[in-house]
Symmetry: C2
DNA sequence: TAAGTTATCGACTGGAAGTAGAAAACCTCG
DNA sequence: CGAGGTTTTCTACTTCCAGTCGATAACTTA
């Protein structure tokens, strides 16, 4: 038989924290890339699927039950990606709701995606791929559920979208679009805002907390489905 | 070190042929899945990337220069996917323009995606994934270039979209949308249609023949970019 | 030259979404 | 208790996108 590559898995774990999209990184303490920051992950073991494997590795960093969504991102295979070992690497995208603050091991911490430190291997590009995937899916799926708490006001949701999309989002439009798509529903409760007063916000929740694609895209719909 | 999986690559090669979306399949002549149809592909070799590898394997089936587009689709890893070997498999999506008719080896042929024979491994789901990827990208990218000849009439293009999307498409809308997005340009030439007369069709071409994403999606655009 | 066929164009329409301002519902302070 | 400030929510207006349909153009064939 042929020589075989080693298969490793990693994850881009994203969370909207204090108005910024942040990613979970681990600081390496051995070569190669000693001192640089890397995505959490590790080796694929016999008998497990790639998704099992990344969940197992992530469990060492954050409680896996805190992940609201996980999906496969991309598999990279540049023979030169690791200086001494032939590796094929599959990256996943994981999301954590904004109301959780997992306790992290001392070598692991959150970093703003917009302002990354020196990263190991090809992890810089992979993080960009993850952010782009999230941005795209915010537009045509209900993936917002994975960034948001179970219930939230429209303003809070707007802030999450703003952080992830990195541009201003109108609360009016966001509410109208998500309600028309029947992705949100009102809980019937109100939240009395904290220090500075103001009208209490109505609270909403996502109808479903599993990924669903919104219809077709804008154009070239089947005929008879106007608008 | 750990035990390692074998890494294999495969490709969903699609073409719009005689009004139907079709996929290139190869009939197996050994176990497992003796007699079933499988995606073309094979083992990953040392020193090559996954994309290099699938191009090398495809070269045995179709001339690689006939592929107008190729992109990574998904990596599957079910430990039970192969009865005797631990495999991780990366699938690619490849597209062939409708005006080419590659000469194929005797064990390989085109099959309508809407009416597939018995397939080997997890190849049935992978083909579905490929078709869905193509359908989605027809809506928000210029990927039509990969299905179409270098120049074509709007009606011909409409027929390609109809085959790939599996629903009727209006030539009027298609032309208006693709022109507004500046994906198409007129060649200035006319084609005198064959047997039954009619007004000669103006010919068009795609401005670019590499994948480009059309702007943002419909909703939640940055402000100031109206419409 | 009339009839049939195919392609192209333009006008109409409903709906999606950006914008802005008014109104509602709360707070705090005098 | 009421005035003023703050935040949220609603509504009206507007622009743009795309589905529909009918008219027109340019050809072939009888």
């Amino acid at each position: 038989m042929h020589e075989k590559p080693t298969h490793v898995v990693s994850a881009v774990v994203l969370q909207a924290r204090s108005g910024q999209l942040q990613v979970l990184l681990w600081q390496r303490r051995q070569p190669p890339f000693d001192g640089a920051f890397a995505l959490p992950g590790g080796y694929l073991l016999p008998g497990e699927t790639l998704e099992d494997s990344i969940r197992r590795h992530l469990a060492e960093k954050v409680d896996v039950r805190e992940l609201s969504h996980i999906e496969q991102l991309v598999t990279t295979s540049d023979p030169a990606r690791h200086p001494s070992e032939w590796q094929v690497a599959t990256a996943y995208l994981g999301l954590v709701p904004s109301d959780l603050d997992p306790t992290l091991p001392s070598d692991t911490s959150w970093h703003r995606v917009a302002d990354l430190p020196e990263t190991a291997f090809d992890h810089g590009v992979i993080i960009s791929t993850g952010r782009e995937r999230l941005r795209a899916k915010l537009s045509y799926t209900n993936i917002g559920f994975a960034l948001a708490p179970h219930s939230f006001s429209i303003s809070e949701l707007r802030d999450l979208y703003t952080a992830a999309l990195e541009h201003e989002v109108s609360a009016t439009n966001l509410q109208r679009v998500l309600l028309r798509r029947e992705l949100l529903e009102a809980t019937g409760e109100l939240r009395h805002s904290g220090p500075s007063g103001g009208r209490p916000a109505a609270l909403y929740r996502f109808r479903s907390r599993t990924l669903s694609i919104t219809d077709q895209f804008a154009v070239l719909r089947p005929p008879g489905q106007h608008g």
